[in-house]
Structure formats: C-alpha cells, structure tokens
Amino acid sequence: MKPYGVPDIVTLRAICGEQQVLTAEEDLIAYSFDGTAALRKRPAAVVFPTDTQQVSELVKYAAQNRVPLVTRGSGTGLSGGSLPTDNCVVVCLVKMNRILEVDTRNLTLTAEAGVLTQSIADAAGKEGLFYPPDPGSMKISTIGGNVAENSGGLRGLKYGVTRDYVMGMEVVLPDGSIAWLGGKCVKDVAGYSLRDLFIGSEGTLGIVTKVMLKLLPAPKARKTLLAMFPDMESAAETVSAIIAARIIPCTLEFLDQRTVQCVEDYAHIGLPVTAAAILLMETDGHPVVVNEEATAMAAIARDHGSTEVRIAADHNESLQLAAARRTAFSALARIKPTTILEDATVPRSELAKMVSFINEVAKRYNLEIATFGHMGDGNLHPTFLTDERNEEEMHRVEHAMEEIFAKALELGGTITGEHGVGVAKKSFLSKQFDTASMRLLREVRATLDPTGILNPGKICD
C-alpha cells in the first residue's frame, strides 16, 4: 500500500471553507490531545465541516490521497480514541450541532453528531421525555463521540448504554459514500444490524454524522440514597446483595474515601469524608415502587455493615449528588500531577474480589490508586495518582495496570467497560480476544476501510 500522504490545505479549504480550516501552531497544539492523560500529538490540520456533504467530500479526498482522518467532537475521550496521528487531519464535528427533530409520537430524537449530550437530555426533558445515557462528561461530550465510543454512564445498570438508544444513523463510509442505517421502527430485521457495527467503532469504520435516538417517558419519581461503609469490600457485597434481591436500581455508584475527599474538596456538599467507602444509590420509576426499593436497599446496606444511610431530601439534592459524582475523575487530579483512569469491568458477582485485588496491587507496587465507579455494572474506575515525569513510578504503574487487566479477564471481565480501546488499551486487546476474534476484527476493518485512512493505529493495527 502506498504511504500516508500529507494533506493539501488548499483542498481542505475548498471543501470546508476558508474559515473552517486551522493550521496555525496555536490551534494545532490546542487539538493535540483529548481527555486521556499523558498523550499528545499535533495534527497537520483541523477542519470543521458544517454538513454531511462536506464530510463526504473530505473522506473522498482522503481516500484518494491516503490522508489519515481522525474524527472528534469535544475531545473528552479517555482512551486516546481521538488523539491525532502523524500528519492527520482532525475532523472536528462540533459545528454540526443542530437538533433536527424530536418526534413525540414515536419517541425519537434526531440530531447531528456535534450536539452536546446535555442538549439532547434537555431537549428530551422539555417534552417530558428522557434520554438515559449520562456519561461523566455529558455537559460537553458530543452525541457523535458517545456513539463512536458506545459511552456508558451512571444509569447503565437499569437503562443500558448508548448502544441501547441508537435507532438509526447517517454515516459517511471510508469511500465517501453516505449511508442511512436503521430508522424509527421498533422492530426491523432487514439485513444485518449494520448500525451496530458503527456503535463503538471509535471512528475507524466511518464518520457518524447524524444520530436517531430512542427516548423514554421520564420516570415519575426518584429517590437517592447515600450509604457509608467501614471498608470497600462491604460496599461491594452490598451491591451484589441488592442485585441478588432482584432489585435493579438506576444507579449504584461506588466511591472510595480518597475519591470522596477530592469530590467534597471541590463540590462542598457535605459528603461523608470519614467513611472508607460510600455507595450512591438511586431508584426511579413509579412512586410506590421507588419507595419500596429505597427501603429495601437501605436495609440491605445496613445488613452488610453500612454505618449510616442517608436519603436525599429532594430532587435538587439528588441532582447535586449525581453531579458531584460525575466530577470524581477530574477531582482526583487535585492530588498528583498525572491522573490515569482505567475502566476494568467484571461480572457483578466478582466485584468484591476485584476491589480487594486492586487494593493489594496498590500496596505491592507502592502506588496510590483511588477507586470509584459504576459498581452496579461491575464497571470500576481504578485511578492511578502519579506523575508522568517520574519514569520509575510510571514503570510500576504499567506493571500494576497489566496485573489489574489480567485479573479482570481471569474473573470473566473486560479490559474496558465504557472508555474504548483507543491507543491506551490497544496492547491489551489481544489478551481478551481470542485469535479468531482478533482476525475478524481486522477483517471487518480492512473490508470497510481498505486504505486505512480512518483513525489509523487505534483499537488494533
């Protein structure tokens, strides 16, 4: 195959317009990273297409000249999925940000890829409807990015993840052609479920330009509880016990003491900083069921060693708690210069084992690891608090990380629950996938993108 080409700026300007192409050093530096720690690379140019046609022409040009394209939204990804590659053009979709339709008869919402997740939630809310996926960065993340990474959030336990809400999409294929996949039908078995191929494809198979989302009626009531625990294991056991008791609350979030201290330091909302671990639990739905479930969860927490269970006084306090929880990752950056977040995930029955193992690894490698996460999904976020300038310590971080991933796989888990593989977890993927799966992955990619122009070097080579 011919080597990657260097983008021609004049052509990019002809396609997107003079003002929508950036090449100044000050811009390239500002687009040389996403939300992932310690990864930086300057692109050759940044372009802002304003409609699908422009995206299509960009891709055609790139395919003909083998110019690498890296698609991004707000750049909040946590696996380096939108990190630029050598001589690439960053295709930034934030200016394609119109909500095209809210269909209250079919309960769908159609939007361009650059619309913020928060705007989608707000637009649905205005109609008394509900878009459940709520990744931590939802205030600024784009829906296109959410689809590309198949983002999760705090409500995954009951409501699932982004994939469960994508009914259709418009996608520009690696040859520049434009395809519409899916639609408003709840049932639709015509052909392969092609849209599913693009959800979580991390910008390697196509560029999603429009998304059609499923909405739900907004739950009538919700109740938020905060339970304090003397150790992390009893919090983990509480989660397993709640699931075993046939209760599926919408949120079961876990934060260890270090994380609670950092979040409280930022948010000042009176979180209990002395407990070794806390669980943030939320149930929503019919008021009667909500009350019943809240009472049952509080009892289970107490039975498993919770020292105190608090109930949020009102909706505002619930929102405040959830908002504070969403800042956990960033708040942990208060402690050390570099904050490396992982998202090893295990079946829920194995949570207590995984939590103990992370603590043990931290001790063995003499590292500081704060852990929080979506415990109800088995999705943990062990977070290394370290310093990228300390080579020796970074070496220990790598080894500890390897062990944590290995353990997650041993327990039947995955190396990434919701952040994607990107570049950060690329080297671990072959440990999770068997040979046939790896081959299938590569074959699918090579079939769709034979010249390898879309997000090269991500997920796998």
Binding site: I29, A333, P337
Partner: protein, 445 residues
C-alpha cells in the same frame, strides 16, 4: 524594540511550579462555562486550550507569539472555568503570569497601545489625586451641559475613532467623591468591630454613593469604619493587564495606608478588586519588608457581603422604596468565580422585608465588562452584554443588583441602549436604603 525582555529564561510561565500547569488534565469540564469557547467553539479560545498553549511555552515547544498574546487578551479572565474545574486548576494565577509574559516579551506592542497603557496604567491609575482632578473635570463637562452641546454639535467627530466610540459610554461622574461623603473615622454605638474601608479608584468618582452605603451598613452592624481619604488603586487593573511590577507598587502603597494590626477586617465592595486584594500575600511573598503584612492583609481582607454575613448581620425592619422592590441579581465574575461568594449577597438582599426577588437565569455568566475588556474587545463584549440583557428583560425587574463597578456601568450602559427603565444598584445600596428607611418609619406599605 519588540524585545524589551527577550531572555526566555525570565518567563513567568517557566518559573511556575510545573505542577500548576500539569494540574489541568484536559477533561473539558470547563468548556461549556467559557464564554469565548461557547462563542467560537475553538479550543484555543477555551481554558484548557489556553493552558495547553501556556504549557507548550513553558516546555519550549512553542515560542511566545503575537497570536498567543492576542489569545490571552481575548480571554475575559472571568474565571468561570475555575468554578467548573474539579481538578482545582489555578487559572487566575496562570492567566496573570501569561499576560505578564506577553507584556514583558512585547509581542503586542504598537505605538497607540503603548501610549494608552502608559497613560492609564502608569500615569492615571497610580495617582489617586490626579484621577480625582480628571474626574472633577469630567463632572464639570457633564454637569455644565457642555457634554450635551458637544453631542448635539457632533463635535466628537474630531476625536480618534477609538475615543469617539467610547464617548457615549462615558458614565456620569458623581458630584461628590468618597472623601466628601465619608469621614476618616465613623463610629457606631456599640462598636463590636473595627474595620478599614477601601473606596477604590473608579468607584470613588463614578459610584461614590456605594461607598457611603457600605459605611452605613457597617455602622448599622456595630462596625467602626476607618476610611483613609486618599487611597491608591489596588493594582488589580495592573495585575490583570500584565504589569506585575506596578501591581506590587500599588499593593505596597495601599498597605501603607492602613494599620492592618489594629483592624479586624479590611472591607472591599468591588468584586474585581476583592479578587485581587485577597492575593496580596502571593503577590508580595518575596518582598522582605511587606511579605508579613501582606499575609495578614490577605487573611483580613473581606468582601462586604462575606463580612456582613460572617458577623451575623441584622436584617433590616423596613423595606426599600416601593419602586426598588422587584430585584434580580447579576453576579460579578470576580465575586462568584474569583471569590466563590454566591450565597451571601442573596442572603443580604433576601433579608430585606417585602423584596420581590427574581433569580436571573445564567446569573454567573460574564456581562462582557471584564475589566477593560469592553474597551479592548468591544465586539465580543457587546455580544455578552446582549446575552445578559436578554435574560434581564423577562425578569421584569426594576433593579438589577450587582457588586462590581465594571459590571454596574456595563449593564447600566446596556439598559440605556435598549431604553429600558431599569436601575442598576449595588446590593449594599439596597440594604443601606432599607436601614435608612427604618429611622424614617417608612414601613412596608
């Protein structure tokens, strides 16, 4: 001449503890709260983009360019990002260091800019008496009818374009300045506290009644108030505009005007000043003579709202004038973001009986005043002002309360432009009015 100080090793950004720059883990939480990013959707116009550029300069990956300089002045310095930042990045400090580097490297130097900077920063705002003389002249010009004559005859056409555009913005100078309204020592009985009062530079001549109202509120709450009759500018204007040396000089002069040992607190009523005044300890940390006093100063420096709430202020028993009762509150950036004071002004205002309180949507979004931003970046400033006014309109408030002279004048100008009959008042002025009405037995109607 473009390299007044070209030795790159002297860059403030490089001298910073690297962890301050590294604190930003580029999560993007700041983006939706940044007025310039929301306007352009370009990373370089966002806090994390700007920090990335600062870091690139500190790491020798990029030269300090003119474009970088322009970016640092496109930033409003509203500090909304610091409220949004869970990681606790000290953007205010980074921003001041970056602007100081921009000025010391001289990348933005132009004869006209140099002249205005010299005139304002070095001449006028270092000399409080000169400022008062200029204020007096402007007052005479406005009060004598000369201003309206000039406007009618369109004589402003002879002014340079930049001044011609500013002329209609010129706010009304007050007849009497702070020293004519406030005695150097005013006592209350009984006296619980002894506090110093900062009268400011702009506030002193353009909004001197706010200073009088502040004294009245302090007296009503058992504070003896010491107000030096001549006070220099606090230096926030200098620090925010990249002149740290002058900022230090102004800080020392102001420290000399107060006997900090003998005061329980030093009170400021201007948000922009307060946000700077509280950092004298850091500004003068290396000063062998002033460091200790600056440290004490920073601990005793209180915003008026913060102070009154902390000493459990007395709620007034009377209301404000009937025409001032429907009130909304615009939060000055350097009060809400710079000092994290959001609860106290509301608490004071809501203590006034009979007040019809309406929350302003987006109350913490910058109004575009941002120090001298409305002069240096008029276009973006106007957009922010329009956005603010669009939120004020539906509240149907009779009074917009705000606690910073810059915001006060900016919002007042905007309201005048739209021809709306809405007043701008400092929250303390409303509180003072309520206290005054107690003695006049003008109870709730």
């Amino acid at each position: 001449m473009n390299n007044r100080n070209a030795d790159t090793h002297s860059l403030h950004l490089k001298g910073l503890d690297y962890s301050v720059l590294q604190q930003c883990m580029h999560c993007g939480m700041c983006l939706p709260t940044c007025p310039t990013y929301v306007e352009t959707k370009l990373e370089r116009n966002s806090p994390r983009g700007r920090i990335a550029l600062m870091r690139a300069i500190a790491d020798d990956e990029m030269k300090l360019t003119k474009a970088f300089g322009e970016e640092m002045y496109y930033c409003l310095g509203c500090l909304a990002c610091t409220t949004a930042c869970p990681a606790g990045v000290d953007y205010a400090h980074l921003f001041e260091m970056a602007r100081a580097d921009v000025e010391e490297q001289g990348v933005l130097q132009r004869p006209e800019r140099n002249f205005w900077r010299w005139l304002s920063l070095e001449v006028i705002f270092t000399r409080p008496r000169l400022l008062r003389i200029l204020g007096r002249m402007l007052y005479v010009y406005q009060a004598s009818g000369a201003q309206s004559l000039v406007r009618k005859l369109r004589l402003t056409a002879v002014l340079p374009k930049s001044l011609r555009e500013l002329e209609p913005r010129a706010p009304a100078v007050r007849k009497r300045f702070s020293n004519q309204l406030i005695d150097p020592v005013e006592k209350s009985t009984p006296t619980r506290y002894r506090v110093g009062l900062l009268t400011g530079c702009v506030q002193d001549i353009l909004l001197s009644e706010v200073n009088r109202d502040t004294v009245d509120c302090l007296l009503a709450n058992g504070c003896e108030v010491i107000t030096p009759s001549v006070q220099s500018c606090c230096g926030s204007l200098h620090a925010h505009n990249g002149d740290l040396e002058l900022a230090k000089r102004m800080a020392r002069t102001l420290l000399d005007a107060f006997d900090i040992e003998k005061l329980d607190a030093v009170i400021t009523n201007a948000a922009g000043c307060g946000s700077h005044l509280k950092h004298y300890d850091r500004l003068l940390a290396d000063d062998p003579v002033y460091a200790e006093r600056a440290w004490q100063w920073s601990r005793k420096l209180k915003d008026i709202h913060e102070w009154l709430v902390s000493i459990q202020f007395r709620a007034p028993s009377a209301s404000v004038q009937p025409e001032n009762r429907r009130v909304t509150y615009h939060e000055a950036c350097h009060l809400s973001h710079g000092q994290k004071i959001t609860r106290q002004p509301r608490q004071l205002l809501q203590s006034i009986p009979g007040l019809d309180w309406i929350e302003l949507p987006e109350s913490t979004w910058c109004c575009g005043s941002a120090g001298v931003y409305n002069i240096t970046q008029p276009e973006q400033a106007q957009k922010l002002l329009e956005r603010k006014l669009d939120h004020i309109g539906p509240t149907q408030a009779a009074v917009v309360a705000t606690a910073n002279p810059g915001c006060h004048l900016q919002v007042e100008f905007g309201l005048r432009q739209r021809g709306w009959d809405v007043k701008v008042m400092h929250p303390i002025s409303l509180l003072a009015e309520a206290y005054r009405n107690e003695s006049q037995h003008s109870r709730l109607t």
